[in-house]
């Protein structure tokens, strides 16, 4: 016996087929209207996991970019302050030379030189207290407002300010005052040397002045060394910044590839589904219409 076909079967089958067609259209419609092919984990569990990992990596990269930007600000501030301090120190040294060479200087002239050197010293202490985002850049990890006291002693707390610029890569973005200006106390540092120089210039002690000038030369070398160190760290942070920015963009592209709808493909799909749906509708209308009754007269 051949398979009987009944009107109810045909109605149910065509409704089923129409439902399936509509469901496929709805799926494409969802992909188009949300712009995503990955709307829930079950759409593709593997891709969903990959997307979550990529999103985590993007967040990290964006944070690394922020960290690097912050670090570049710190290093820039350290760099320009040290440049300025080099110039000031050089000027103090020149003043010292003037005081040492001219033995014929009168006390008033020497006093004037000494005052100028003292002013430079105060200017350097102020520069050593420079701040970035309200933190003294030579003060290490201090919570206080100053890296150096007015008497030239160190007021900071030893410690490194670091910025994480890549997974597992931290770059130090500060320079501790004691590392380039000399001992933390009131002796054996840049500020003490300047104070001594001013005193000796005032006294006209040319031997001590010459010794002071030599000492200042050594301090300047230390500052220059600090500058080149800052420069190389700046380079590291800048290249890390570029890498993290590129990584974030790259990862975003990857996420988009996984999560987002290929619009052209989805639009064509939708068109196809529409055509298929309309064909099913037309076929249903033709199949359900006729009955034997139309032909019995």
């Amino acid at each position: 016996m051949s398979f009987r076909v009944t009107q109810r079967m045909m109605t149910a089958d065509s409704l089923d087929a129409l439902q399936r067609g509509l469901a496929r259209s709805a799926k494409v419609q969802e992909q188009l209207s949300t712009g995503r092919i990955l709307n829930r984990p079950s759409d593709n569990p593997t891709d969903a996991t990959a997307a979550m990992r990529l999103r985590g990596a993007i967040a990290d990269s964006e944070q690394f970019v922020r960290n690097a930007e912050n670090g570049m600000g710190w290093l820039g501030q350290v760099d320009s302050t040290l440049q300025q301090m080099t110039n000031q120190t050089r000027k103090a040294r020149e003043l010292g030379l003037t005081g040492a060479n001219d033995g014929a200087m009168g006390p008033a002239a020497r006093d004037a030189l000494a005052v100028e050197i003292e002013e430079i010293r105060e200017g350097l202490i102020a520069a050593a207290n420079s701040k970035y985002l309200d933190r003294p850049i030579f003060g290490g990890i201090t919570a206080g407002d100053y890296a150096y006291n007015p008497d030239g002693s160190f007021a900071g707390v030893a410690g490194e300010v670091t910025r994480k610029v890549a997974p597992g890569v931290s770059v130090r973005v500060d320079t501790l005052g004691t590392e380039i200006f000399g001992s933390p106390g009131t002796t054996d540092n840049l500020f003490a040397d300047l104070a001594d120089l001013a005193t000796n210039v005032r006294l006209g002690n040319s031997v001590a002045v010459r010794a002071g000038i030599n000492a200042l030369g050594a301090r300047m070398e230390a500052i220059t060394a600090g500058l080149s160190d800052v420069g190389s760290r700046m380079n590291r942070v800048e290249s890390a910044h570029a890498a993290a920015t590129a990584a974030a963009e790259e990862l975003k592209t990857n996420v988009s590839t996984i999560e987002n709808t290929d619009l052209a493909k989805a639009a064509v799909d939708l068109q196809l589904q529409e055509v298929a749906y309309q064909a099913a509708l037309a076929a249903t209308a033709r199949v359900l219409q006729p009955s034997l009754l139309d032909f019995l007269r």
């Binding site: 984990p41 079950s42 759409d43 019995l296």
Partner: protein, 474 residues
């Protein structure tokens, strides 16, 4: 006895028979789209001579007409049983797919508002803190994002609890529907038995009974067997629910309170036959009841356990890094050792994850001890590096396994739907009404009716000839 008058009777039998055929066709046509209606066919039989040859009296006729021998329901018991089996599997998978789909929507991954995004944001906030430990804003941000993470986890946990509560209420609803259907089925068993003995048409009752048996399979995956006396017996996972005219009471014997709350014990079912309650094994239960049971017993608690483990691990990892001890350098803004960051209630970690720190200054960003505090960011760096890898991985695995699970159930449900549709079509091919067929039957019966009428006219005129014209000459 052969003769003209007897031929009238033969024609009358044809009229009666074709009347029945027409009546049946009209019933079939009327019920062409009635749910569960099984088409009927009128079986005719010839009225002939006696089937025992007599010794002296000889039958000299040639057939006495037609009679209705039976009005048959076009069913196939095997196909019915097959349909019930497929439908129970279908409703089992469909119910699971619906529940899993709802829970999955609540997960919200991959996206910007899920747990993964909250974890990433919380992680980032530690680096912002490391950059500026002396400023209030990043400290506040760490606390705010910790709260958001806790809220997101709690929302997922609530999502599961809500679904569980719904499923428990649904289970109670299913059980009461099972009991109504079982009672109705037992009553119908009785009625069909009685009408069968009385010889009254009971096809409509049989249609209803088949539908009840199908509904019971859909609800419980129950198996129906037909007894020798025609009654249906229904058993659920091996335990008898309906036996002839007797229906047992299906009961939730453990796990769910009458108000739909959980008792804490595993869910168990039993069937009370009026005196004793026999347990229904829960393993292998199908239909809607099986699906809700499996959801409540394994799938949803499993997901919640994974979520709780994640919350517990994460809280203890963060706390281990944040609490300052002799071996762990963690100091807050004022130089004091850090305290516990998160608290959880054991057993319900995801829902109870809470940020213990209220004063932003108490966040231990520094890894260096100093009196009065300092602006080191070492510990914040360390938390950024070490606290999140395990939790993110664990969460991704959880979402992956849940998504895989949902996709698998949806695929199974789709495959089963094709299977069920095919069996359902076979059933329809057997039992459905075809209007063309009925029209042909109708036209055939109409013609036969007309012919029988014509026969009477002919016989009438034959008799007229015999009675009124015999011997008349003109």
């Amino acid at each position: 006895m052969a003769g003209t008058f007897s031929s009238f009777n033969t024609a009358l039998s044809a009229i009666r028979y074709n009347n029945t055929v027409l009546q049946n066709a009209s019933n079939n046509i009327s019920n062409a789209s009635t749910e569960g209606y099984v088409r009927r066919r009128v079986l005719g039989g010839e009225i002939g001579g006696p089937d025992q040859p007599a010794m002296y009296a000889r039958y000299d006729g040639h057939g006495e007409g037609v009679r209705v021998t039976d009005v048959q329901r076009q069913v196939d018991a095997l196909l019915d049983a097959r349909l019930r089996r497929e439908v129970s599997q279908q409703s089992y998978l469909d119910t699971q797919a619906a529940v899993l789909g709802r829970v999955e929507t609540g997960i919200g991954e991959p996206g910007d508002n899920g747990v993964a995004a909250a974890l990433a944001a919380f992680k980032k906030s530690w680096e912002d803190l490391a950059n500026d430990p002396g400023v209030d804003a990043p400290r506040q941000q760490v606390l705010a994002r910790a709260s958001i993470l806790a809220d997101t986890l709690a929302a997922q946990s609530r999502n599961i609890s809500g679904e569980e509560a719904d499923q428990r209420v649904k289970t109670l609803g299913i059980v009461s529907e099972i009991n109504i259907a079982a009672r109705d089925l037992a009553e119908l068993n009785e009625k069909i038995h009685v009408t069968e003995l009385n010889g009254i048409d009971n096809n409509a009752l049989r249609d209803t009974r088949d539908q009840l048996a199908l509904r019971l399979s859909e609800l419980t995956g129950g198996a129906t067997t037909v007894r020798a006396d025609g009654m249906f017996d229904v058993s659920v996972n091996g335990t008898s629910l309906v036996s002839g005219g007797q229906a047992g009471t299906f009961e939730v014997t453990a796990g769910i309170n009458p108000d739909g709350t959980a008792t804490g014990a595993p869910i168990a079912f039993g069937i009370n036959d009026g005196t004793t309650t026999t347990a229904v094994p829960v393993a292998g239960l199908r239909g809607e009841l099986g699906a809700t049971h499996d959801m409540l017993a394994t799938t949803l608690p499993g997901h919640r356990l994974a979520l709780n483990a994640l919350a517990a691990d994460f809280a203890s990892t963060i706390n281990a890094l944040h609490v300052g001890t002799a071996t762990n350098d963690a100091y807050d803004r004022n130089g004091n050792p850090g305290g516990a960051f998160f608290s959880v209630v054991a057993g319900d970690e995801a829902a109870t994850l809470q940020v213990l720190i209220t004063d932003p200054d108490e966040i231990a960003a520094s890894g260096i001890a100093s009196v009065g505090g300092n602006l080191d960011g070492g510990n914040a760096h360390r938390i950024f590096d070490e606290a999140f890898g395990a939790a993110s991985g664990e969460y991704q695995r959880m979402v992956n396994s849940f998504g895989t699970n949902v996709a698998a159930v949806e695929r199974k449900a789709a495959n089963q739907a094709a299977m069920t549709a095919q069996v359902s079509n076979s059933w329809e091919a057997q039992a459905g009404v075809n209007l063309d067929e009925e029209t042909v039957t109708m036209v055939t019966a109409q013609r036969a009716f007309e012919a029988a009428g014509k026969l009477m006219t002919v016989l009438d005129s034959v008799l007229d000839t015999l009675i009124n014209r015999t011997g008349v000459t003109r």
